[in-house]
């Protein structure tokens, strides 16, 4: 099939060979599990258990709040120790509400789990979506956007293609690769269920050409289906970006501020498809995920299937611990992943990689002046001018940065990676995006304050007017009464 070129991009050192040939191993149930209430984009979930409660495996621990949210379930049976503030796996190092579960070692399933949907293709899209929402499934490629919301796009827009993202363009990560190789059937079934839910007639599974084995296995698995295609895409970072992958496969360019769904394409990660399969066919919520534990500092890198809530230190310990000093711990891949405050944080749904990188791998250097080489402009997959944006952000001219398109930046990291002067370009953009979002929130807050102040003024004016009217009325009444009295006296006098 003919592919369409995408703009720019880079070829980082992939270092996938460390884990690519290592089969997924299961991590045994740990003694303690820490399930944060916010593991997804959207509103945090609300705990429905409290300290002292006994829970069974698969039982609801926290329910989703609002339209964009996701519930969490007990990864194993045990007792709730606390619902407490615990350091989040987040670059801020801030604490967040987390359910602490002490495993009882029995791993007993709850009895009230929903029954498997025997024939999902006969079921209504609403039934599938409800099941996926119940299971607490979010995008497992890293973005952690609630999957049912994305599956709902078929209800508003005409979706023709489900694009299954197996590009895995981030260096180091091989968990999608391994899942495709080892659970091809489950991935495929999940994808077919999702396509049915979306009303998409065609499924395209896109896999980068550096994963020939996964391509072969997925091709074999899809032979029986005429509407499913496995397409090898060139090794070019950031091929796995939703918009860029859509462009490479369909040639369609997603307009700014729109979704790929507006073009009739919905993109889901391969591991998400597997989670959908489990929720629909087995009636099981999302309790575990496959994560790549790698990086030069890790003794024996592995792909591990572990329960959500397992402490990262235990997973790294499972890989032989740290052989060298780590300079950075990263949640996700090295390009778009977030730094971790340490390994004393839990595994969450959106965590595709746990990397312990040495200073040689990170290759950080103090930045030097820009020499205007223009490489960042050439490689920017979004057609932006990173050097110019960074220059205005440095002077805190955020409105200019917005005008230059900083909000169109996908933070893929290519410009920072390639910059010969080691200028932290993406950090500047992340800062500007954060500030612009904060300003936006602030503006909305001030609008509300203004509205309240106006309401108060109106109230005071009304009250004053009422008071005045009342006073006037009282005065008038008094006067009238006095007049009446005087007239009556006057009237009465003759009669008196």
């Amino acid at each position: 099939m003919k592919l369409f070129p995408i703009r720019g991009g880079i070829h980082p050192e992939y270092r996938k060979e460390r884990t690519a040939e290592k089969a997924i191993v299961s991590f045994p149930t740990p003694a303690m599990l820490y399930i944060p209430l916010q593991q997804h984009i959207g509103a945090p979930a609300e705990a429905v258990v409290q300290a002292g409660d006994l829970v069974k495996k698969g039982q609801l621990l926290a329910k989703g709040v609002g339209a964009v949210s996701a519930p969490s379930h007990a990864p194993t049976s045990g007792s709730i120790e606390a619902v407490a503030e615990i350091t989040a796996p987040h670059p801020s190092g801030l604490p967040q509400l987390t359910i602490v579960l002490k495993a009882d070692g029995k791993d007993e399933w709850a009895s009230d789990l929903p029954a498997p949907i025997a024939d999902p293709f006969a079921a209504s899209p609403d039934e599938i979506r409800a099941r996926v929402a119940w299971a607490g499934i979010v995008g497992l490629g890293g973005a952690a956007f609630p999957t049912p919301v994305k599956l709902n796009l078929g209800a508003q827009l005409k979706i023709h293609t489900l694009l299954l993202n197996g590009a895995e363009c981030e260096p180091y990560l091989t968990c999608d690769d391994r899942v495709m190789r080892e659970y091809a059937g489950e991935v495929l079934d999940g994808a077919r269920i999702m396509a049915h839910t979306l009303g998409a007639g065609r499924i395209v599974i896109a896999i980068e050409d550096n994963k020939p084995e996964a391509q072969r296995i997925m091709r074999d698995a899809t032979k029986a289906f005429a509407n499913i295609e496995v397409i090898g895409v060139p090794v070019q970072y950031p091929m796995g970006s939703e918009r860029h992958l859509t462009q490479a496969i369909t040639g369609l360019e997603t307009p700014a501020r729109k979704l790929t769904a507006d073009l009739g394409v919905v993109v889901h990660n391969v591991m998400t498809a597997r989670a959908v399969h489990k929720a629909v066919r087995e009636g099981k919520p999302l309790l575990s995920r496959v994560v790549t534990v790698s990086g030069g500092a890790v003794q024996d890198p592995k792909n591990i299937e572990a329960l959500i809530g397992t402490k990262l230190s235990e997973l790294v310990g499972f890989c032989g611990g740290l052989a060298k000093d780590a300079r950075r711990f990263v949640n996700g891949g090295p390009m778009m992943g977030q730094p971790l405050p340490g390994l004393d944080v839990p595994l969450v749904k959106g965590m595709s990689g746990i990397l312990a990188l040495t200073s040689a791998e990170v290759n950080e250097r103090p930045s030097s002046p820009c020499i205007r080489c223009g490489t960042c402009v050439t490689i920017c997959p979004c057609g932006l001018v990173p050097v110019e944006m960074a220059a205005v952000i440095r002077k805190d001219h955020l409105d200019q940065a917005a005008h230059l398109g900083v909000m169109d930046c996908v933070s893929c990291g290519s410009c920072s990676y390639i910059c010969p002067s080691h200028i932290p370009l993406v950090h500047y953009f992340n800062y500007a995006k954060g500030m612009l979002n904060a300003q936006d929130r602030e503006k909305r807050r001030l609008d509300r304050v203004k509205h309240l102040a106006e309401a108060r003024n109106e109230r005071l004016e009304k009250a004053a007017a009422a008071k005045k009217a009342a006073a006037a009325a009282a005065a008038a009444a008094k006067k009238a009464a006095a007049e009446a009295a005087s007239t009556s006296t006057a009237d009465n006098r003759p009669s008196a």
């Binding site: 987040h90 103090p366 503006k443 304050v449 102040a453």
Partner: protein
């Protein structure tokens, strides 16, 4: 000579008359700059600038009497907008960006005097005479008026905490020139 003087004099009289008439006919009631400046201000009527409300501050700004950095709730964006409009350079050095606060009533100290209720410009305090008052956290915009007036120091100002959703990356710490 006379013709020249005469024609210039007539022209002067005619044009002067026209201008005078225009000034009368097209007179603007309000200072348009003032209205424009008022539109830029947050409109919280908080009085932290030292004026009674946003309108008075806008009037002072239009006359060039007030500093453009006085508006606390507006913060940097408002200062920048005012600077641009008034064509002055904003001296950010004497402006400290304060983190957002909200007021909390200490239940043990509140005597229910109702004074704070009258001060609050956004009706964020609820309570009745001799009853404990409380602040609706979502509506409080941290103007400190209640804090200043409370006779028993029952009101505390609390900084709105940074959460996972409001946190964002700080500016890179780098001395080197970028461009």
């Amino acid at each position: 000579m006379l013709l020249a003087i005469g024609s210039v004099a007539i022209m002067g009289a005619a044009l002067g008359g026209l201008l005078g008439a225009a000034a009368k006919l097209l007179a603007v009631e309000e200072n348009p700059l003032e209205v424009e400046l008022l539109g830029m201000l947050p409109g919280a009527q908080c009085g932290q600038c030292g004026y009674v409300g946003c309108g008075q501050y806008a009037a002072a700004l239009a006359k060039g009497e007030a500093s453009i950095t006085a508006c606390a709730p507006g913060g940097k964006p408002v200062i920048e907008a005012l600077a641009k409009k008034l064509g002055v350079t904003a001296d950010m050095d004497d402006h400290e960006e304060e983190s957002l606060q909200y007021a909390v009533v200490d239940e043990s100290l509140c005597i229910g005097c109702m004074r704070c209720l009258g001060e609050c410009s956004v009706d964020a305090i609820v309570g009745a005479a001799k009853q404990m008052h409380t602040v609706i956290k979502q509506e409080c915009h941290g103007c400190k008026k209640c804090f200043n007036i409370c006779p028993t120091e029952a009101i505390k100002m609390v900084t709105v905490p940074v959460t996972l959703s409001s946190w964002h990356w700080h500016k890179p710490q780098s001395d080197q020139a970028v461009h």
